[in-house]
């Protein structure tokens, strides 16, 4: 326990030194999340060398893919000044529908890739529709995103409970055996979910930084009125961000379902908060106008890493896991914001 605290102290000191050195201050804005990630990684190694084991690293990255992919969608929504609280419930709902659909398709198409691909297609379609509903009600209905997505969160959550009769929906085992590699399989030594995560991140990065759509997101998030006067179709762009979020949720669900082959009312609980936390840790601002995809990726990995490190040690009481997580999240965000206060965002 004492060695853990000592480590915390030294990493803090090191970070403080960087802030005080001139020139580093600006870099820290970009590299803050990475610095925090490396510091956390070092802490992990010191706590338990098993942390650096290939299996453990692979497990952790694969796990972070769900929240990561959802958080990339959330980066767009938040950058454009919106918010989506429904993603966790949406994931559970999509997973539920997907399982029911695939189970019923087995009779017709047998347990094969046709069934699975139809399930995947349905999942993407549902995600797009769910995102469209969130977007259109928020923009055309002129209701705060917080309320709209809080509402849809409740709707999707209760729908999945209803679909499963309060129990658990389980995927037909024969389908599952074929579908299983989508989570457990790997290509060039890297698991499929990590590849998907990476691909989504690269596409997200290009979309946010090198396209007109991305620039519109920044503009709307900075000042919606000005964006509107600049002839940007604000409603359309904002709705598109929610649809993008829906697609990301569907993608996350597609790689989630083969993991345990089940969905229940307890699936995806609090994913929305983890996704938002990942976005903010990564340096995107909650009030909009400023988004960073790679920061989000790092944020999602960090959140998973905290849980992983806590599982690798029994030095900290289990009851205090939440405390440790809370402190690390706040410190991580403080590190990068500390420089902003001096130089301005």
């Amino acid at each position: 326990m004492s060695s853990v605290m000592a480590n915390n102290k030294t990493t803090n000191k090191a970070a403080n030194k960087m802030i005080t050195q001139k020139g580093f201050a600006i870099d820290l804005k970009t590299w803050g999340p990475f610095v925090a990630l490396v510091a956390l990684g070092l802490l992990g190694v010191l706590i338990n060398p098993a942390f650096l084991g290939l299996d453990n690293l692979s497990n952790m990255l694969t796990r972070s893919a769900f929240i990561g992919i959802i958080a990339i969608g959330a980066t767009f929504v938040i950058t454009a000044g919106g918010l989506d609280l429904s993603v966790g419930a949406m994931a559970a709902f999509i997973a539920g529908v997907m399982i029911i659909l695939m189970n019923s398709l087995v009779e017709q198409f047998g347990a094969g890739w046709t069934t699975i691909l139809l399930g995947i297609g349905a999942s993407l379609l549902l995600g797009i529709c769910a995102g469209f509903i969130n977007g259109i009600v928020t923009t055309k209905g002129k209701i705060e995103a917080f309320i709209v997505t809080l509402g849809t969160m409740g709707i999707y959550r209760s729908l999945v409970t209803y679909l499963s009769d309060g129990g658990t929906l389980t995927l037909d085992w024969a389908v599952r055996d074929i579908y299983r590699p989508v989570y457990y399989g790997s290509f060039l030594g890297i698991t499929i979910p990590v590849w998907v995560f990476l691909a989504v991140a690269v596409i997200g990065y290009i979309l946010l930084n090198y396209t007109r759509f991305g620039r519109y997101c920044f503009a709307i998030g900075s000042n919606e009125k000005v964006a509107e006067y600049s002839a940007i179709h604000v409603d359309r762009v904002k709705t598109l961000t929610y649809m993008l979020q829906g697609v990301c949720v569907a993608l996350a669900t597609i790689i989630y379902v083969p993991r345990l082959g089940s969905a229940s009312g307890a699936t995806g609980v609090l994913w929305e908060l983890e996704a938002i936390a990942a976005v903010i840790i990564g340096g995107t601002m909650l009030k909009g106008g400023h988004g960073r995809i790679w920061g989000t990726v790092v944020g999602a990995i960090m959140l998973t890493m905290i849980g992983n490190i806590l599982n690798l040690t029994d030095a900290i009481s289990n009851y205090l896991n939440g405390t440790v997580q809370g402190i690390i999240i706040i410190v991580a965000v403080y590190l990068q914001r500390a420089s902003w206060r001096k130089t301005g965002p």
Partner: protein, 321 residues
């Protein structure tokens, strides 16, 4: 305007009808209404409670035409307190079977039901004050831990390294872990670590993945709960370490019971903590009205070990749990 008139008319007719039904009801011999208040099906176990409550209602109403059940489900403790008031004032219940959402907040509402002269059966979660209920029906959490611990100890010949996945930090979890620790006390069975997996499949999967990365040898896993156990199974399968260990869950979920029935080496047994206890409570409450023997006190269900030999009697393929 017209719609208002129609609405008023509808109201009047309904009122007349209801009073007519009420009168005809009173004309028949002694009838009993039993209210059943349970938490909504928000997770697997409560889903099972809902299923078995409905099944018991069907069965008992057929068996005893004079007895009527009315089941209400609540999403929160506050909602359940409202339900209790409604059951007394609107449904005029003669007996209440209640599985409290939380013990503390519902103690007083249940007391008020009792004070109105209703026979009260409390299920699973005891009230924080004694002497309110007429009958208490519950599983035995301490026993669940003890039975699991004894099985693991016996199967490992008193020595080995095990990991434990705990539930949501609550009294239920504490009692189970305490029973488990008492059972392995004095043996060479060594608990490598205990972490909370919150009775959740995903958490079970992740915690077990980390255990597998951390410990080179694990002889047994006490998952305490069948949902956690299902996550653990996947993690073990992924790491290709099925040969090395076995898993003991708890509750009696149909998927796990099926594995036990089929003789799965990885999940050789399960320990019962059945959601069907709500049906036991309903049966006993009916006996209060129809039997000439007294129905009072406590009825604590055993937590038997489910093995391949006896698994079939605990298998309900139609239940959602």
């Amino acid at each position: 305007m017209r719609s208002i008139k129609t609405a008023v008319k509808a109201c009047v007719t309904t009122a007349a009808l209801t009073s007519a039904i009420g009168l005809s009801g009173a004309a028949v011999a002694q009838e009993y209404t039993i209210g059943v208040s349970i938490p909504a099906a928000t997770h697997g176990w409560t889903g099972g409670v809902n299923y078995h409550a409905e099944e018991a209602k069907k069965r008992l109403e057929e068996l005893y035409p004079d007895i009527e059940f009315t089941i209400s489900t609540a999403g929160t403790a506050g909602e359940q307190a409202n339900d209790l008031e409604d059951l007394v004032s609107l449904r005029n219940i003669d007996a209440l079977v209640v599985l409290p959402f939380e013990s503390g907040p519902l103690t007083d509402p249940v007391r008020r039901v009792k004070e109105s002269g209703v026979f009260v059966t409390v299920v699973d979660r005891g009230l924080t004050e004694e002497g309110i209920q007429d009958l208490y029906v519950a599983g035995n959490n301490h026993e669940l831990g003890r039975v699991s611990g004894e099985y693991i100890r016996e199967r490992l010949d008193d020595e080995g390294d095990i990991v434990v996945l705990r539930g949501i930090p609550t009294v239920i979890d504490d009692e189970r872990v305490q029973g488990f620790q008492e059972a392995i006390e004095g043996s060479e069975v060594n608990i490598l670590d205990m972490q909370h997996a919150n009775w959740n499949r995903d958490d079970g999967f992740e915690v077990m993945q980390d255990y597998l990365a951390r410990f080179e040898n694990i002889d047994a896993v006490w998952a305490q709960d069948d949902d956690i156990a299902l996550g653990v199974i996947e993690a073990v399968r992924q790491a290709d370490r099925e040969e090395e260990l076995f898993i003991v869950g708890g509750a009696g979920m149909k998927d796990i019971i099926k594995r036990v029935m089929d003789g799965d080496e990885l999940v050789p047994v399960d320990v019962l903590y059945p959601p069907a206890m709500i049906a036991t409570a309903m049966d006993l409450t009916v006996q209060h009205f129809v039997s000439n023997g007294p129905v009072l006190g406590e009825y604590i269900l055993g937590s038997p070990l489910i093995t391949q030999e006896n698994a079939e009697q605990y298998y309900f393929p139609d239940s959602p749990f």
